[in-house]
Amino acid sequence: MKKPTNWPVTILIALGSLLILFPLYMTIAIALKNPEEMAQSIFSLPTGLHFENFTNAIKATNFFNALGNSTVITVTTVVFILLTNSMVAYAIARNMKRRFFKVLYFYFISAMFIPFQIIMLPVVKVTTDLHMNNIVGIIILYVVYGLAFNVFVYTGYIRSIPYELEEAATVDGASTFGTFWKIIFPLLAPVSATIGILSCLSTWNDFMLPLVLLGDQDSYTLPLVQYVFQGQFSTDFNLAFASYLLALTPMLIVYLFAQKWIISGLTSGSIK
């Protein structure tokens, strides 16, 4: 029984998607125009392509430096989150009967209720005292703060993996670390995909932690650079929008190629 296409719903969905696409169209159009074209009509397609907006924005914001910082911070954070948070969750999941690990579990997940804004003031003081107000420090904070949510998700999944697999490995003389890396970690791939995507998006787009933590202009991330830039060039909209577009592009490209994978990764993680 094949149902026919539901045209009224298709049309409504299509109209709704215009609301999503319109601001993005405006961003691209403004980034490619110059002030004279803007004066004629804000909405029209650009007549010439003003790529000088982009070259100027790259220079003004030191774009490649910020892109490098964002990439280093995000990639390192995601790698360390996947490697360490899964291991912590493994130790907890396999020892839930011991009081130490059970307390540890609730200790970590209770932190999910504590928004960063609440500890922000003292965290800045602690990290500054330790000279951690830099890229290395911010990566450590992201990885450590990830524990709250990730231990919760990983532990739930690991507990559904049968013990027998590990027992066999232990009988064969594998160490606990060896068992984790060779047997458990590969089995975690589906959850790791979900956690990897979520951590990647939140780290890449985070604004608050870089804002309060990163003191040195050379270590600024893409969102932070946009914030600083905004104050300096508030009248040249074409330049500003070229800069916004540049800052959004890396993730847009990733999304374009990995869209199906990202959406299914997030949904498979949420059902559990």
Binding site: I13, M26, T84, P115, Q117, V123, S175, P223, F241, S270
Partner: protein, 288 residues
């Protein structure tokens, strides 16, 4: 077996120490500072007892930020959940180019909140008023963000535009867990579409509804990036959120200890609300 146990401790103790050092210790420190009068940069400060807490309850700026944050969080939570559920139903129906539209509706979720805020800031100031003028409405031809009564609605619009993406995906995942034979049975019984939604779809989505409500509410209560990008808390202080007040007062206004006390209260408020929401919504789940 002792070796195994040692390994499990080695896996967790470094994480425990780091987590304590960078999460719990600062939280405790914040509580400690909330009983002092430290401005954030002086060398010395005094213990002042509950003075900060007493002052906070009489502070108009704090009260104002709570009122704004709450009305903002409640309205965004409702709008995000209603709209994303409708979109999820649409995307789950038999439509053309389904994967393309799913991709489009999820797109806002991958974009930086701050940059989306900057883009909308321009649209509110320069683009939407053009339409307002065209339809001859004086109200709509102004920049809504510059109006102290209506600026908060502008922030709600941006938050909803971006926030529906993630909730839509969660609802869509929920819809796909509903067995098709339930609908076939109700078709045989001749149930109307409306009846079908309230008797099958909505109850089956109960746990997704809980998650989405809690997530959206918590996100709303923590609003910060949108404020920075759209209004900076203005006009006046009409859109200053709690998080924004803690940030500006704590780092720039020399109110480190005072805003630490505000953060302690803010923490209690968030925990109580999340707990109440979970309790209330999960009870609804079980009643079904």
């Amino acid at each position: 077996m002792a070796k195994r146990r040692v390994a499990f401790y080695l896996m967790t103790i470094p994480a425990l120490l780091l987590f304590f050092a960078f999460h719990t210790f600062p939280a405790l420190q914040g509580i400690y500072y909330s009983f002092t009068n430290w401005d954030g940069f002086s060398d010395s400060f005094d213990y002042v007892g509950f003075k900060n807490f007493i002052n906070i309850f009489q502070d108009e700026n704090v009260l104002n930020s709570y009122v704004f944050t709450f009305k903002y969080a409640i309205l965004t939570t409702i709008l995000i959940n209603v709209i994303s559920l409708l979109i999820a139903l649409g995307l789950n129906a038999k439509i053309k180019a389904k994967n393309f539209f799913r991709g489009v509706y999820f797109l806002p979720n991958i974009l930086s909140v701050l940059i989306v805020g900057f883009i909308f800031n321009y649209l509110f100031a320069n683009v939407f008023p053009i339409w307002g003028a065209k339809i001859g409405s004086e109200f709509l031809s102004q920049n809504i963000l510059g109006n102290s009564d209506w600026a908060w609605i502008g922030i709600v619009i941006v938050a909803v535009w971006q926030g529906i993406a993630y909730n839509t995906i969660l609802y869509l995942a929920g819809l796909q867990t509903i067995p098709q034979d339930l609908y076939e049975a109700s078709n045989l019984d001749g149930a109307s579409r409306w009846r079908e939604f309230w008797s099958i779809t909505f109850p089956m989505l109960a746990s997704f509804f809980t998650i989405n409500m809690v997530l959206a509410m918590k996100g709303g209560l923590m609003v910060f990036d949108q404020i920075v990008a759209l209004t900076g808390g203005g006009p006046g202080r009409s859109t200053q959120s709690i998080a924004h007040l803690i940030y500006t007062g704590g780092f720039q206004g020399g109110e480190f200890a005072y805003q630490s006390a505000n953060a302690v209260i803010y923490f209690i408020v968030i925990v109580v609300i999340s707990a109440l929401q979970l309790k209330f919504l999960q009870k609804r789940e079980m009643d079904l």
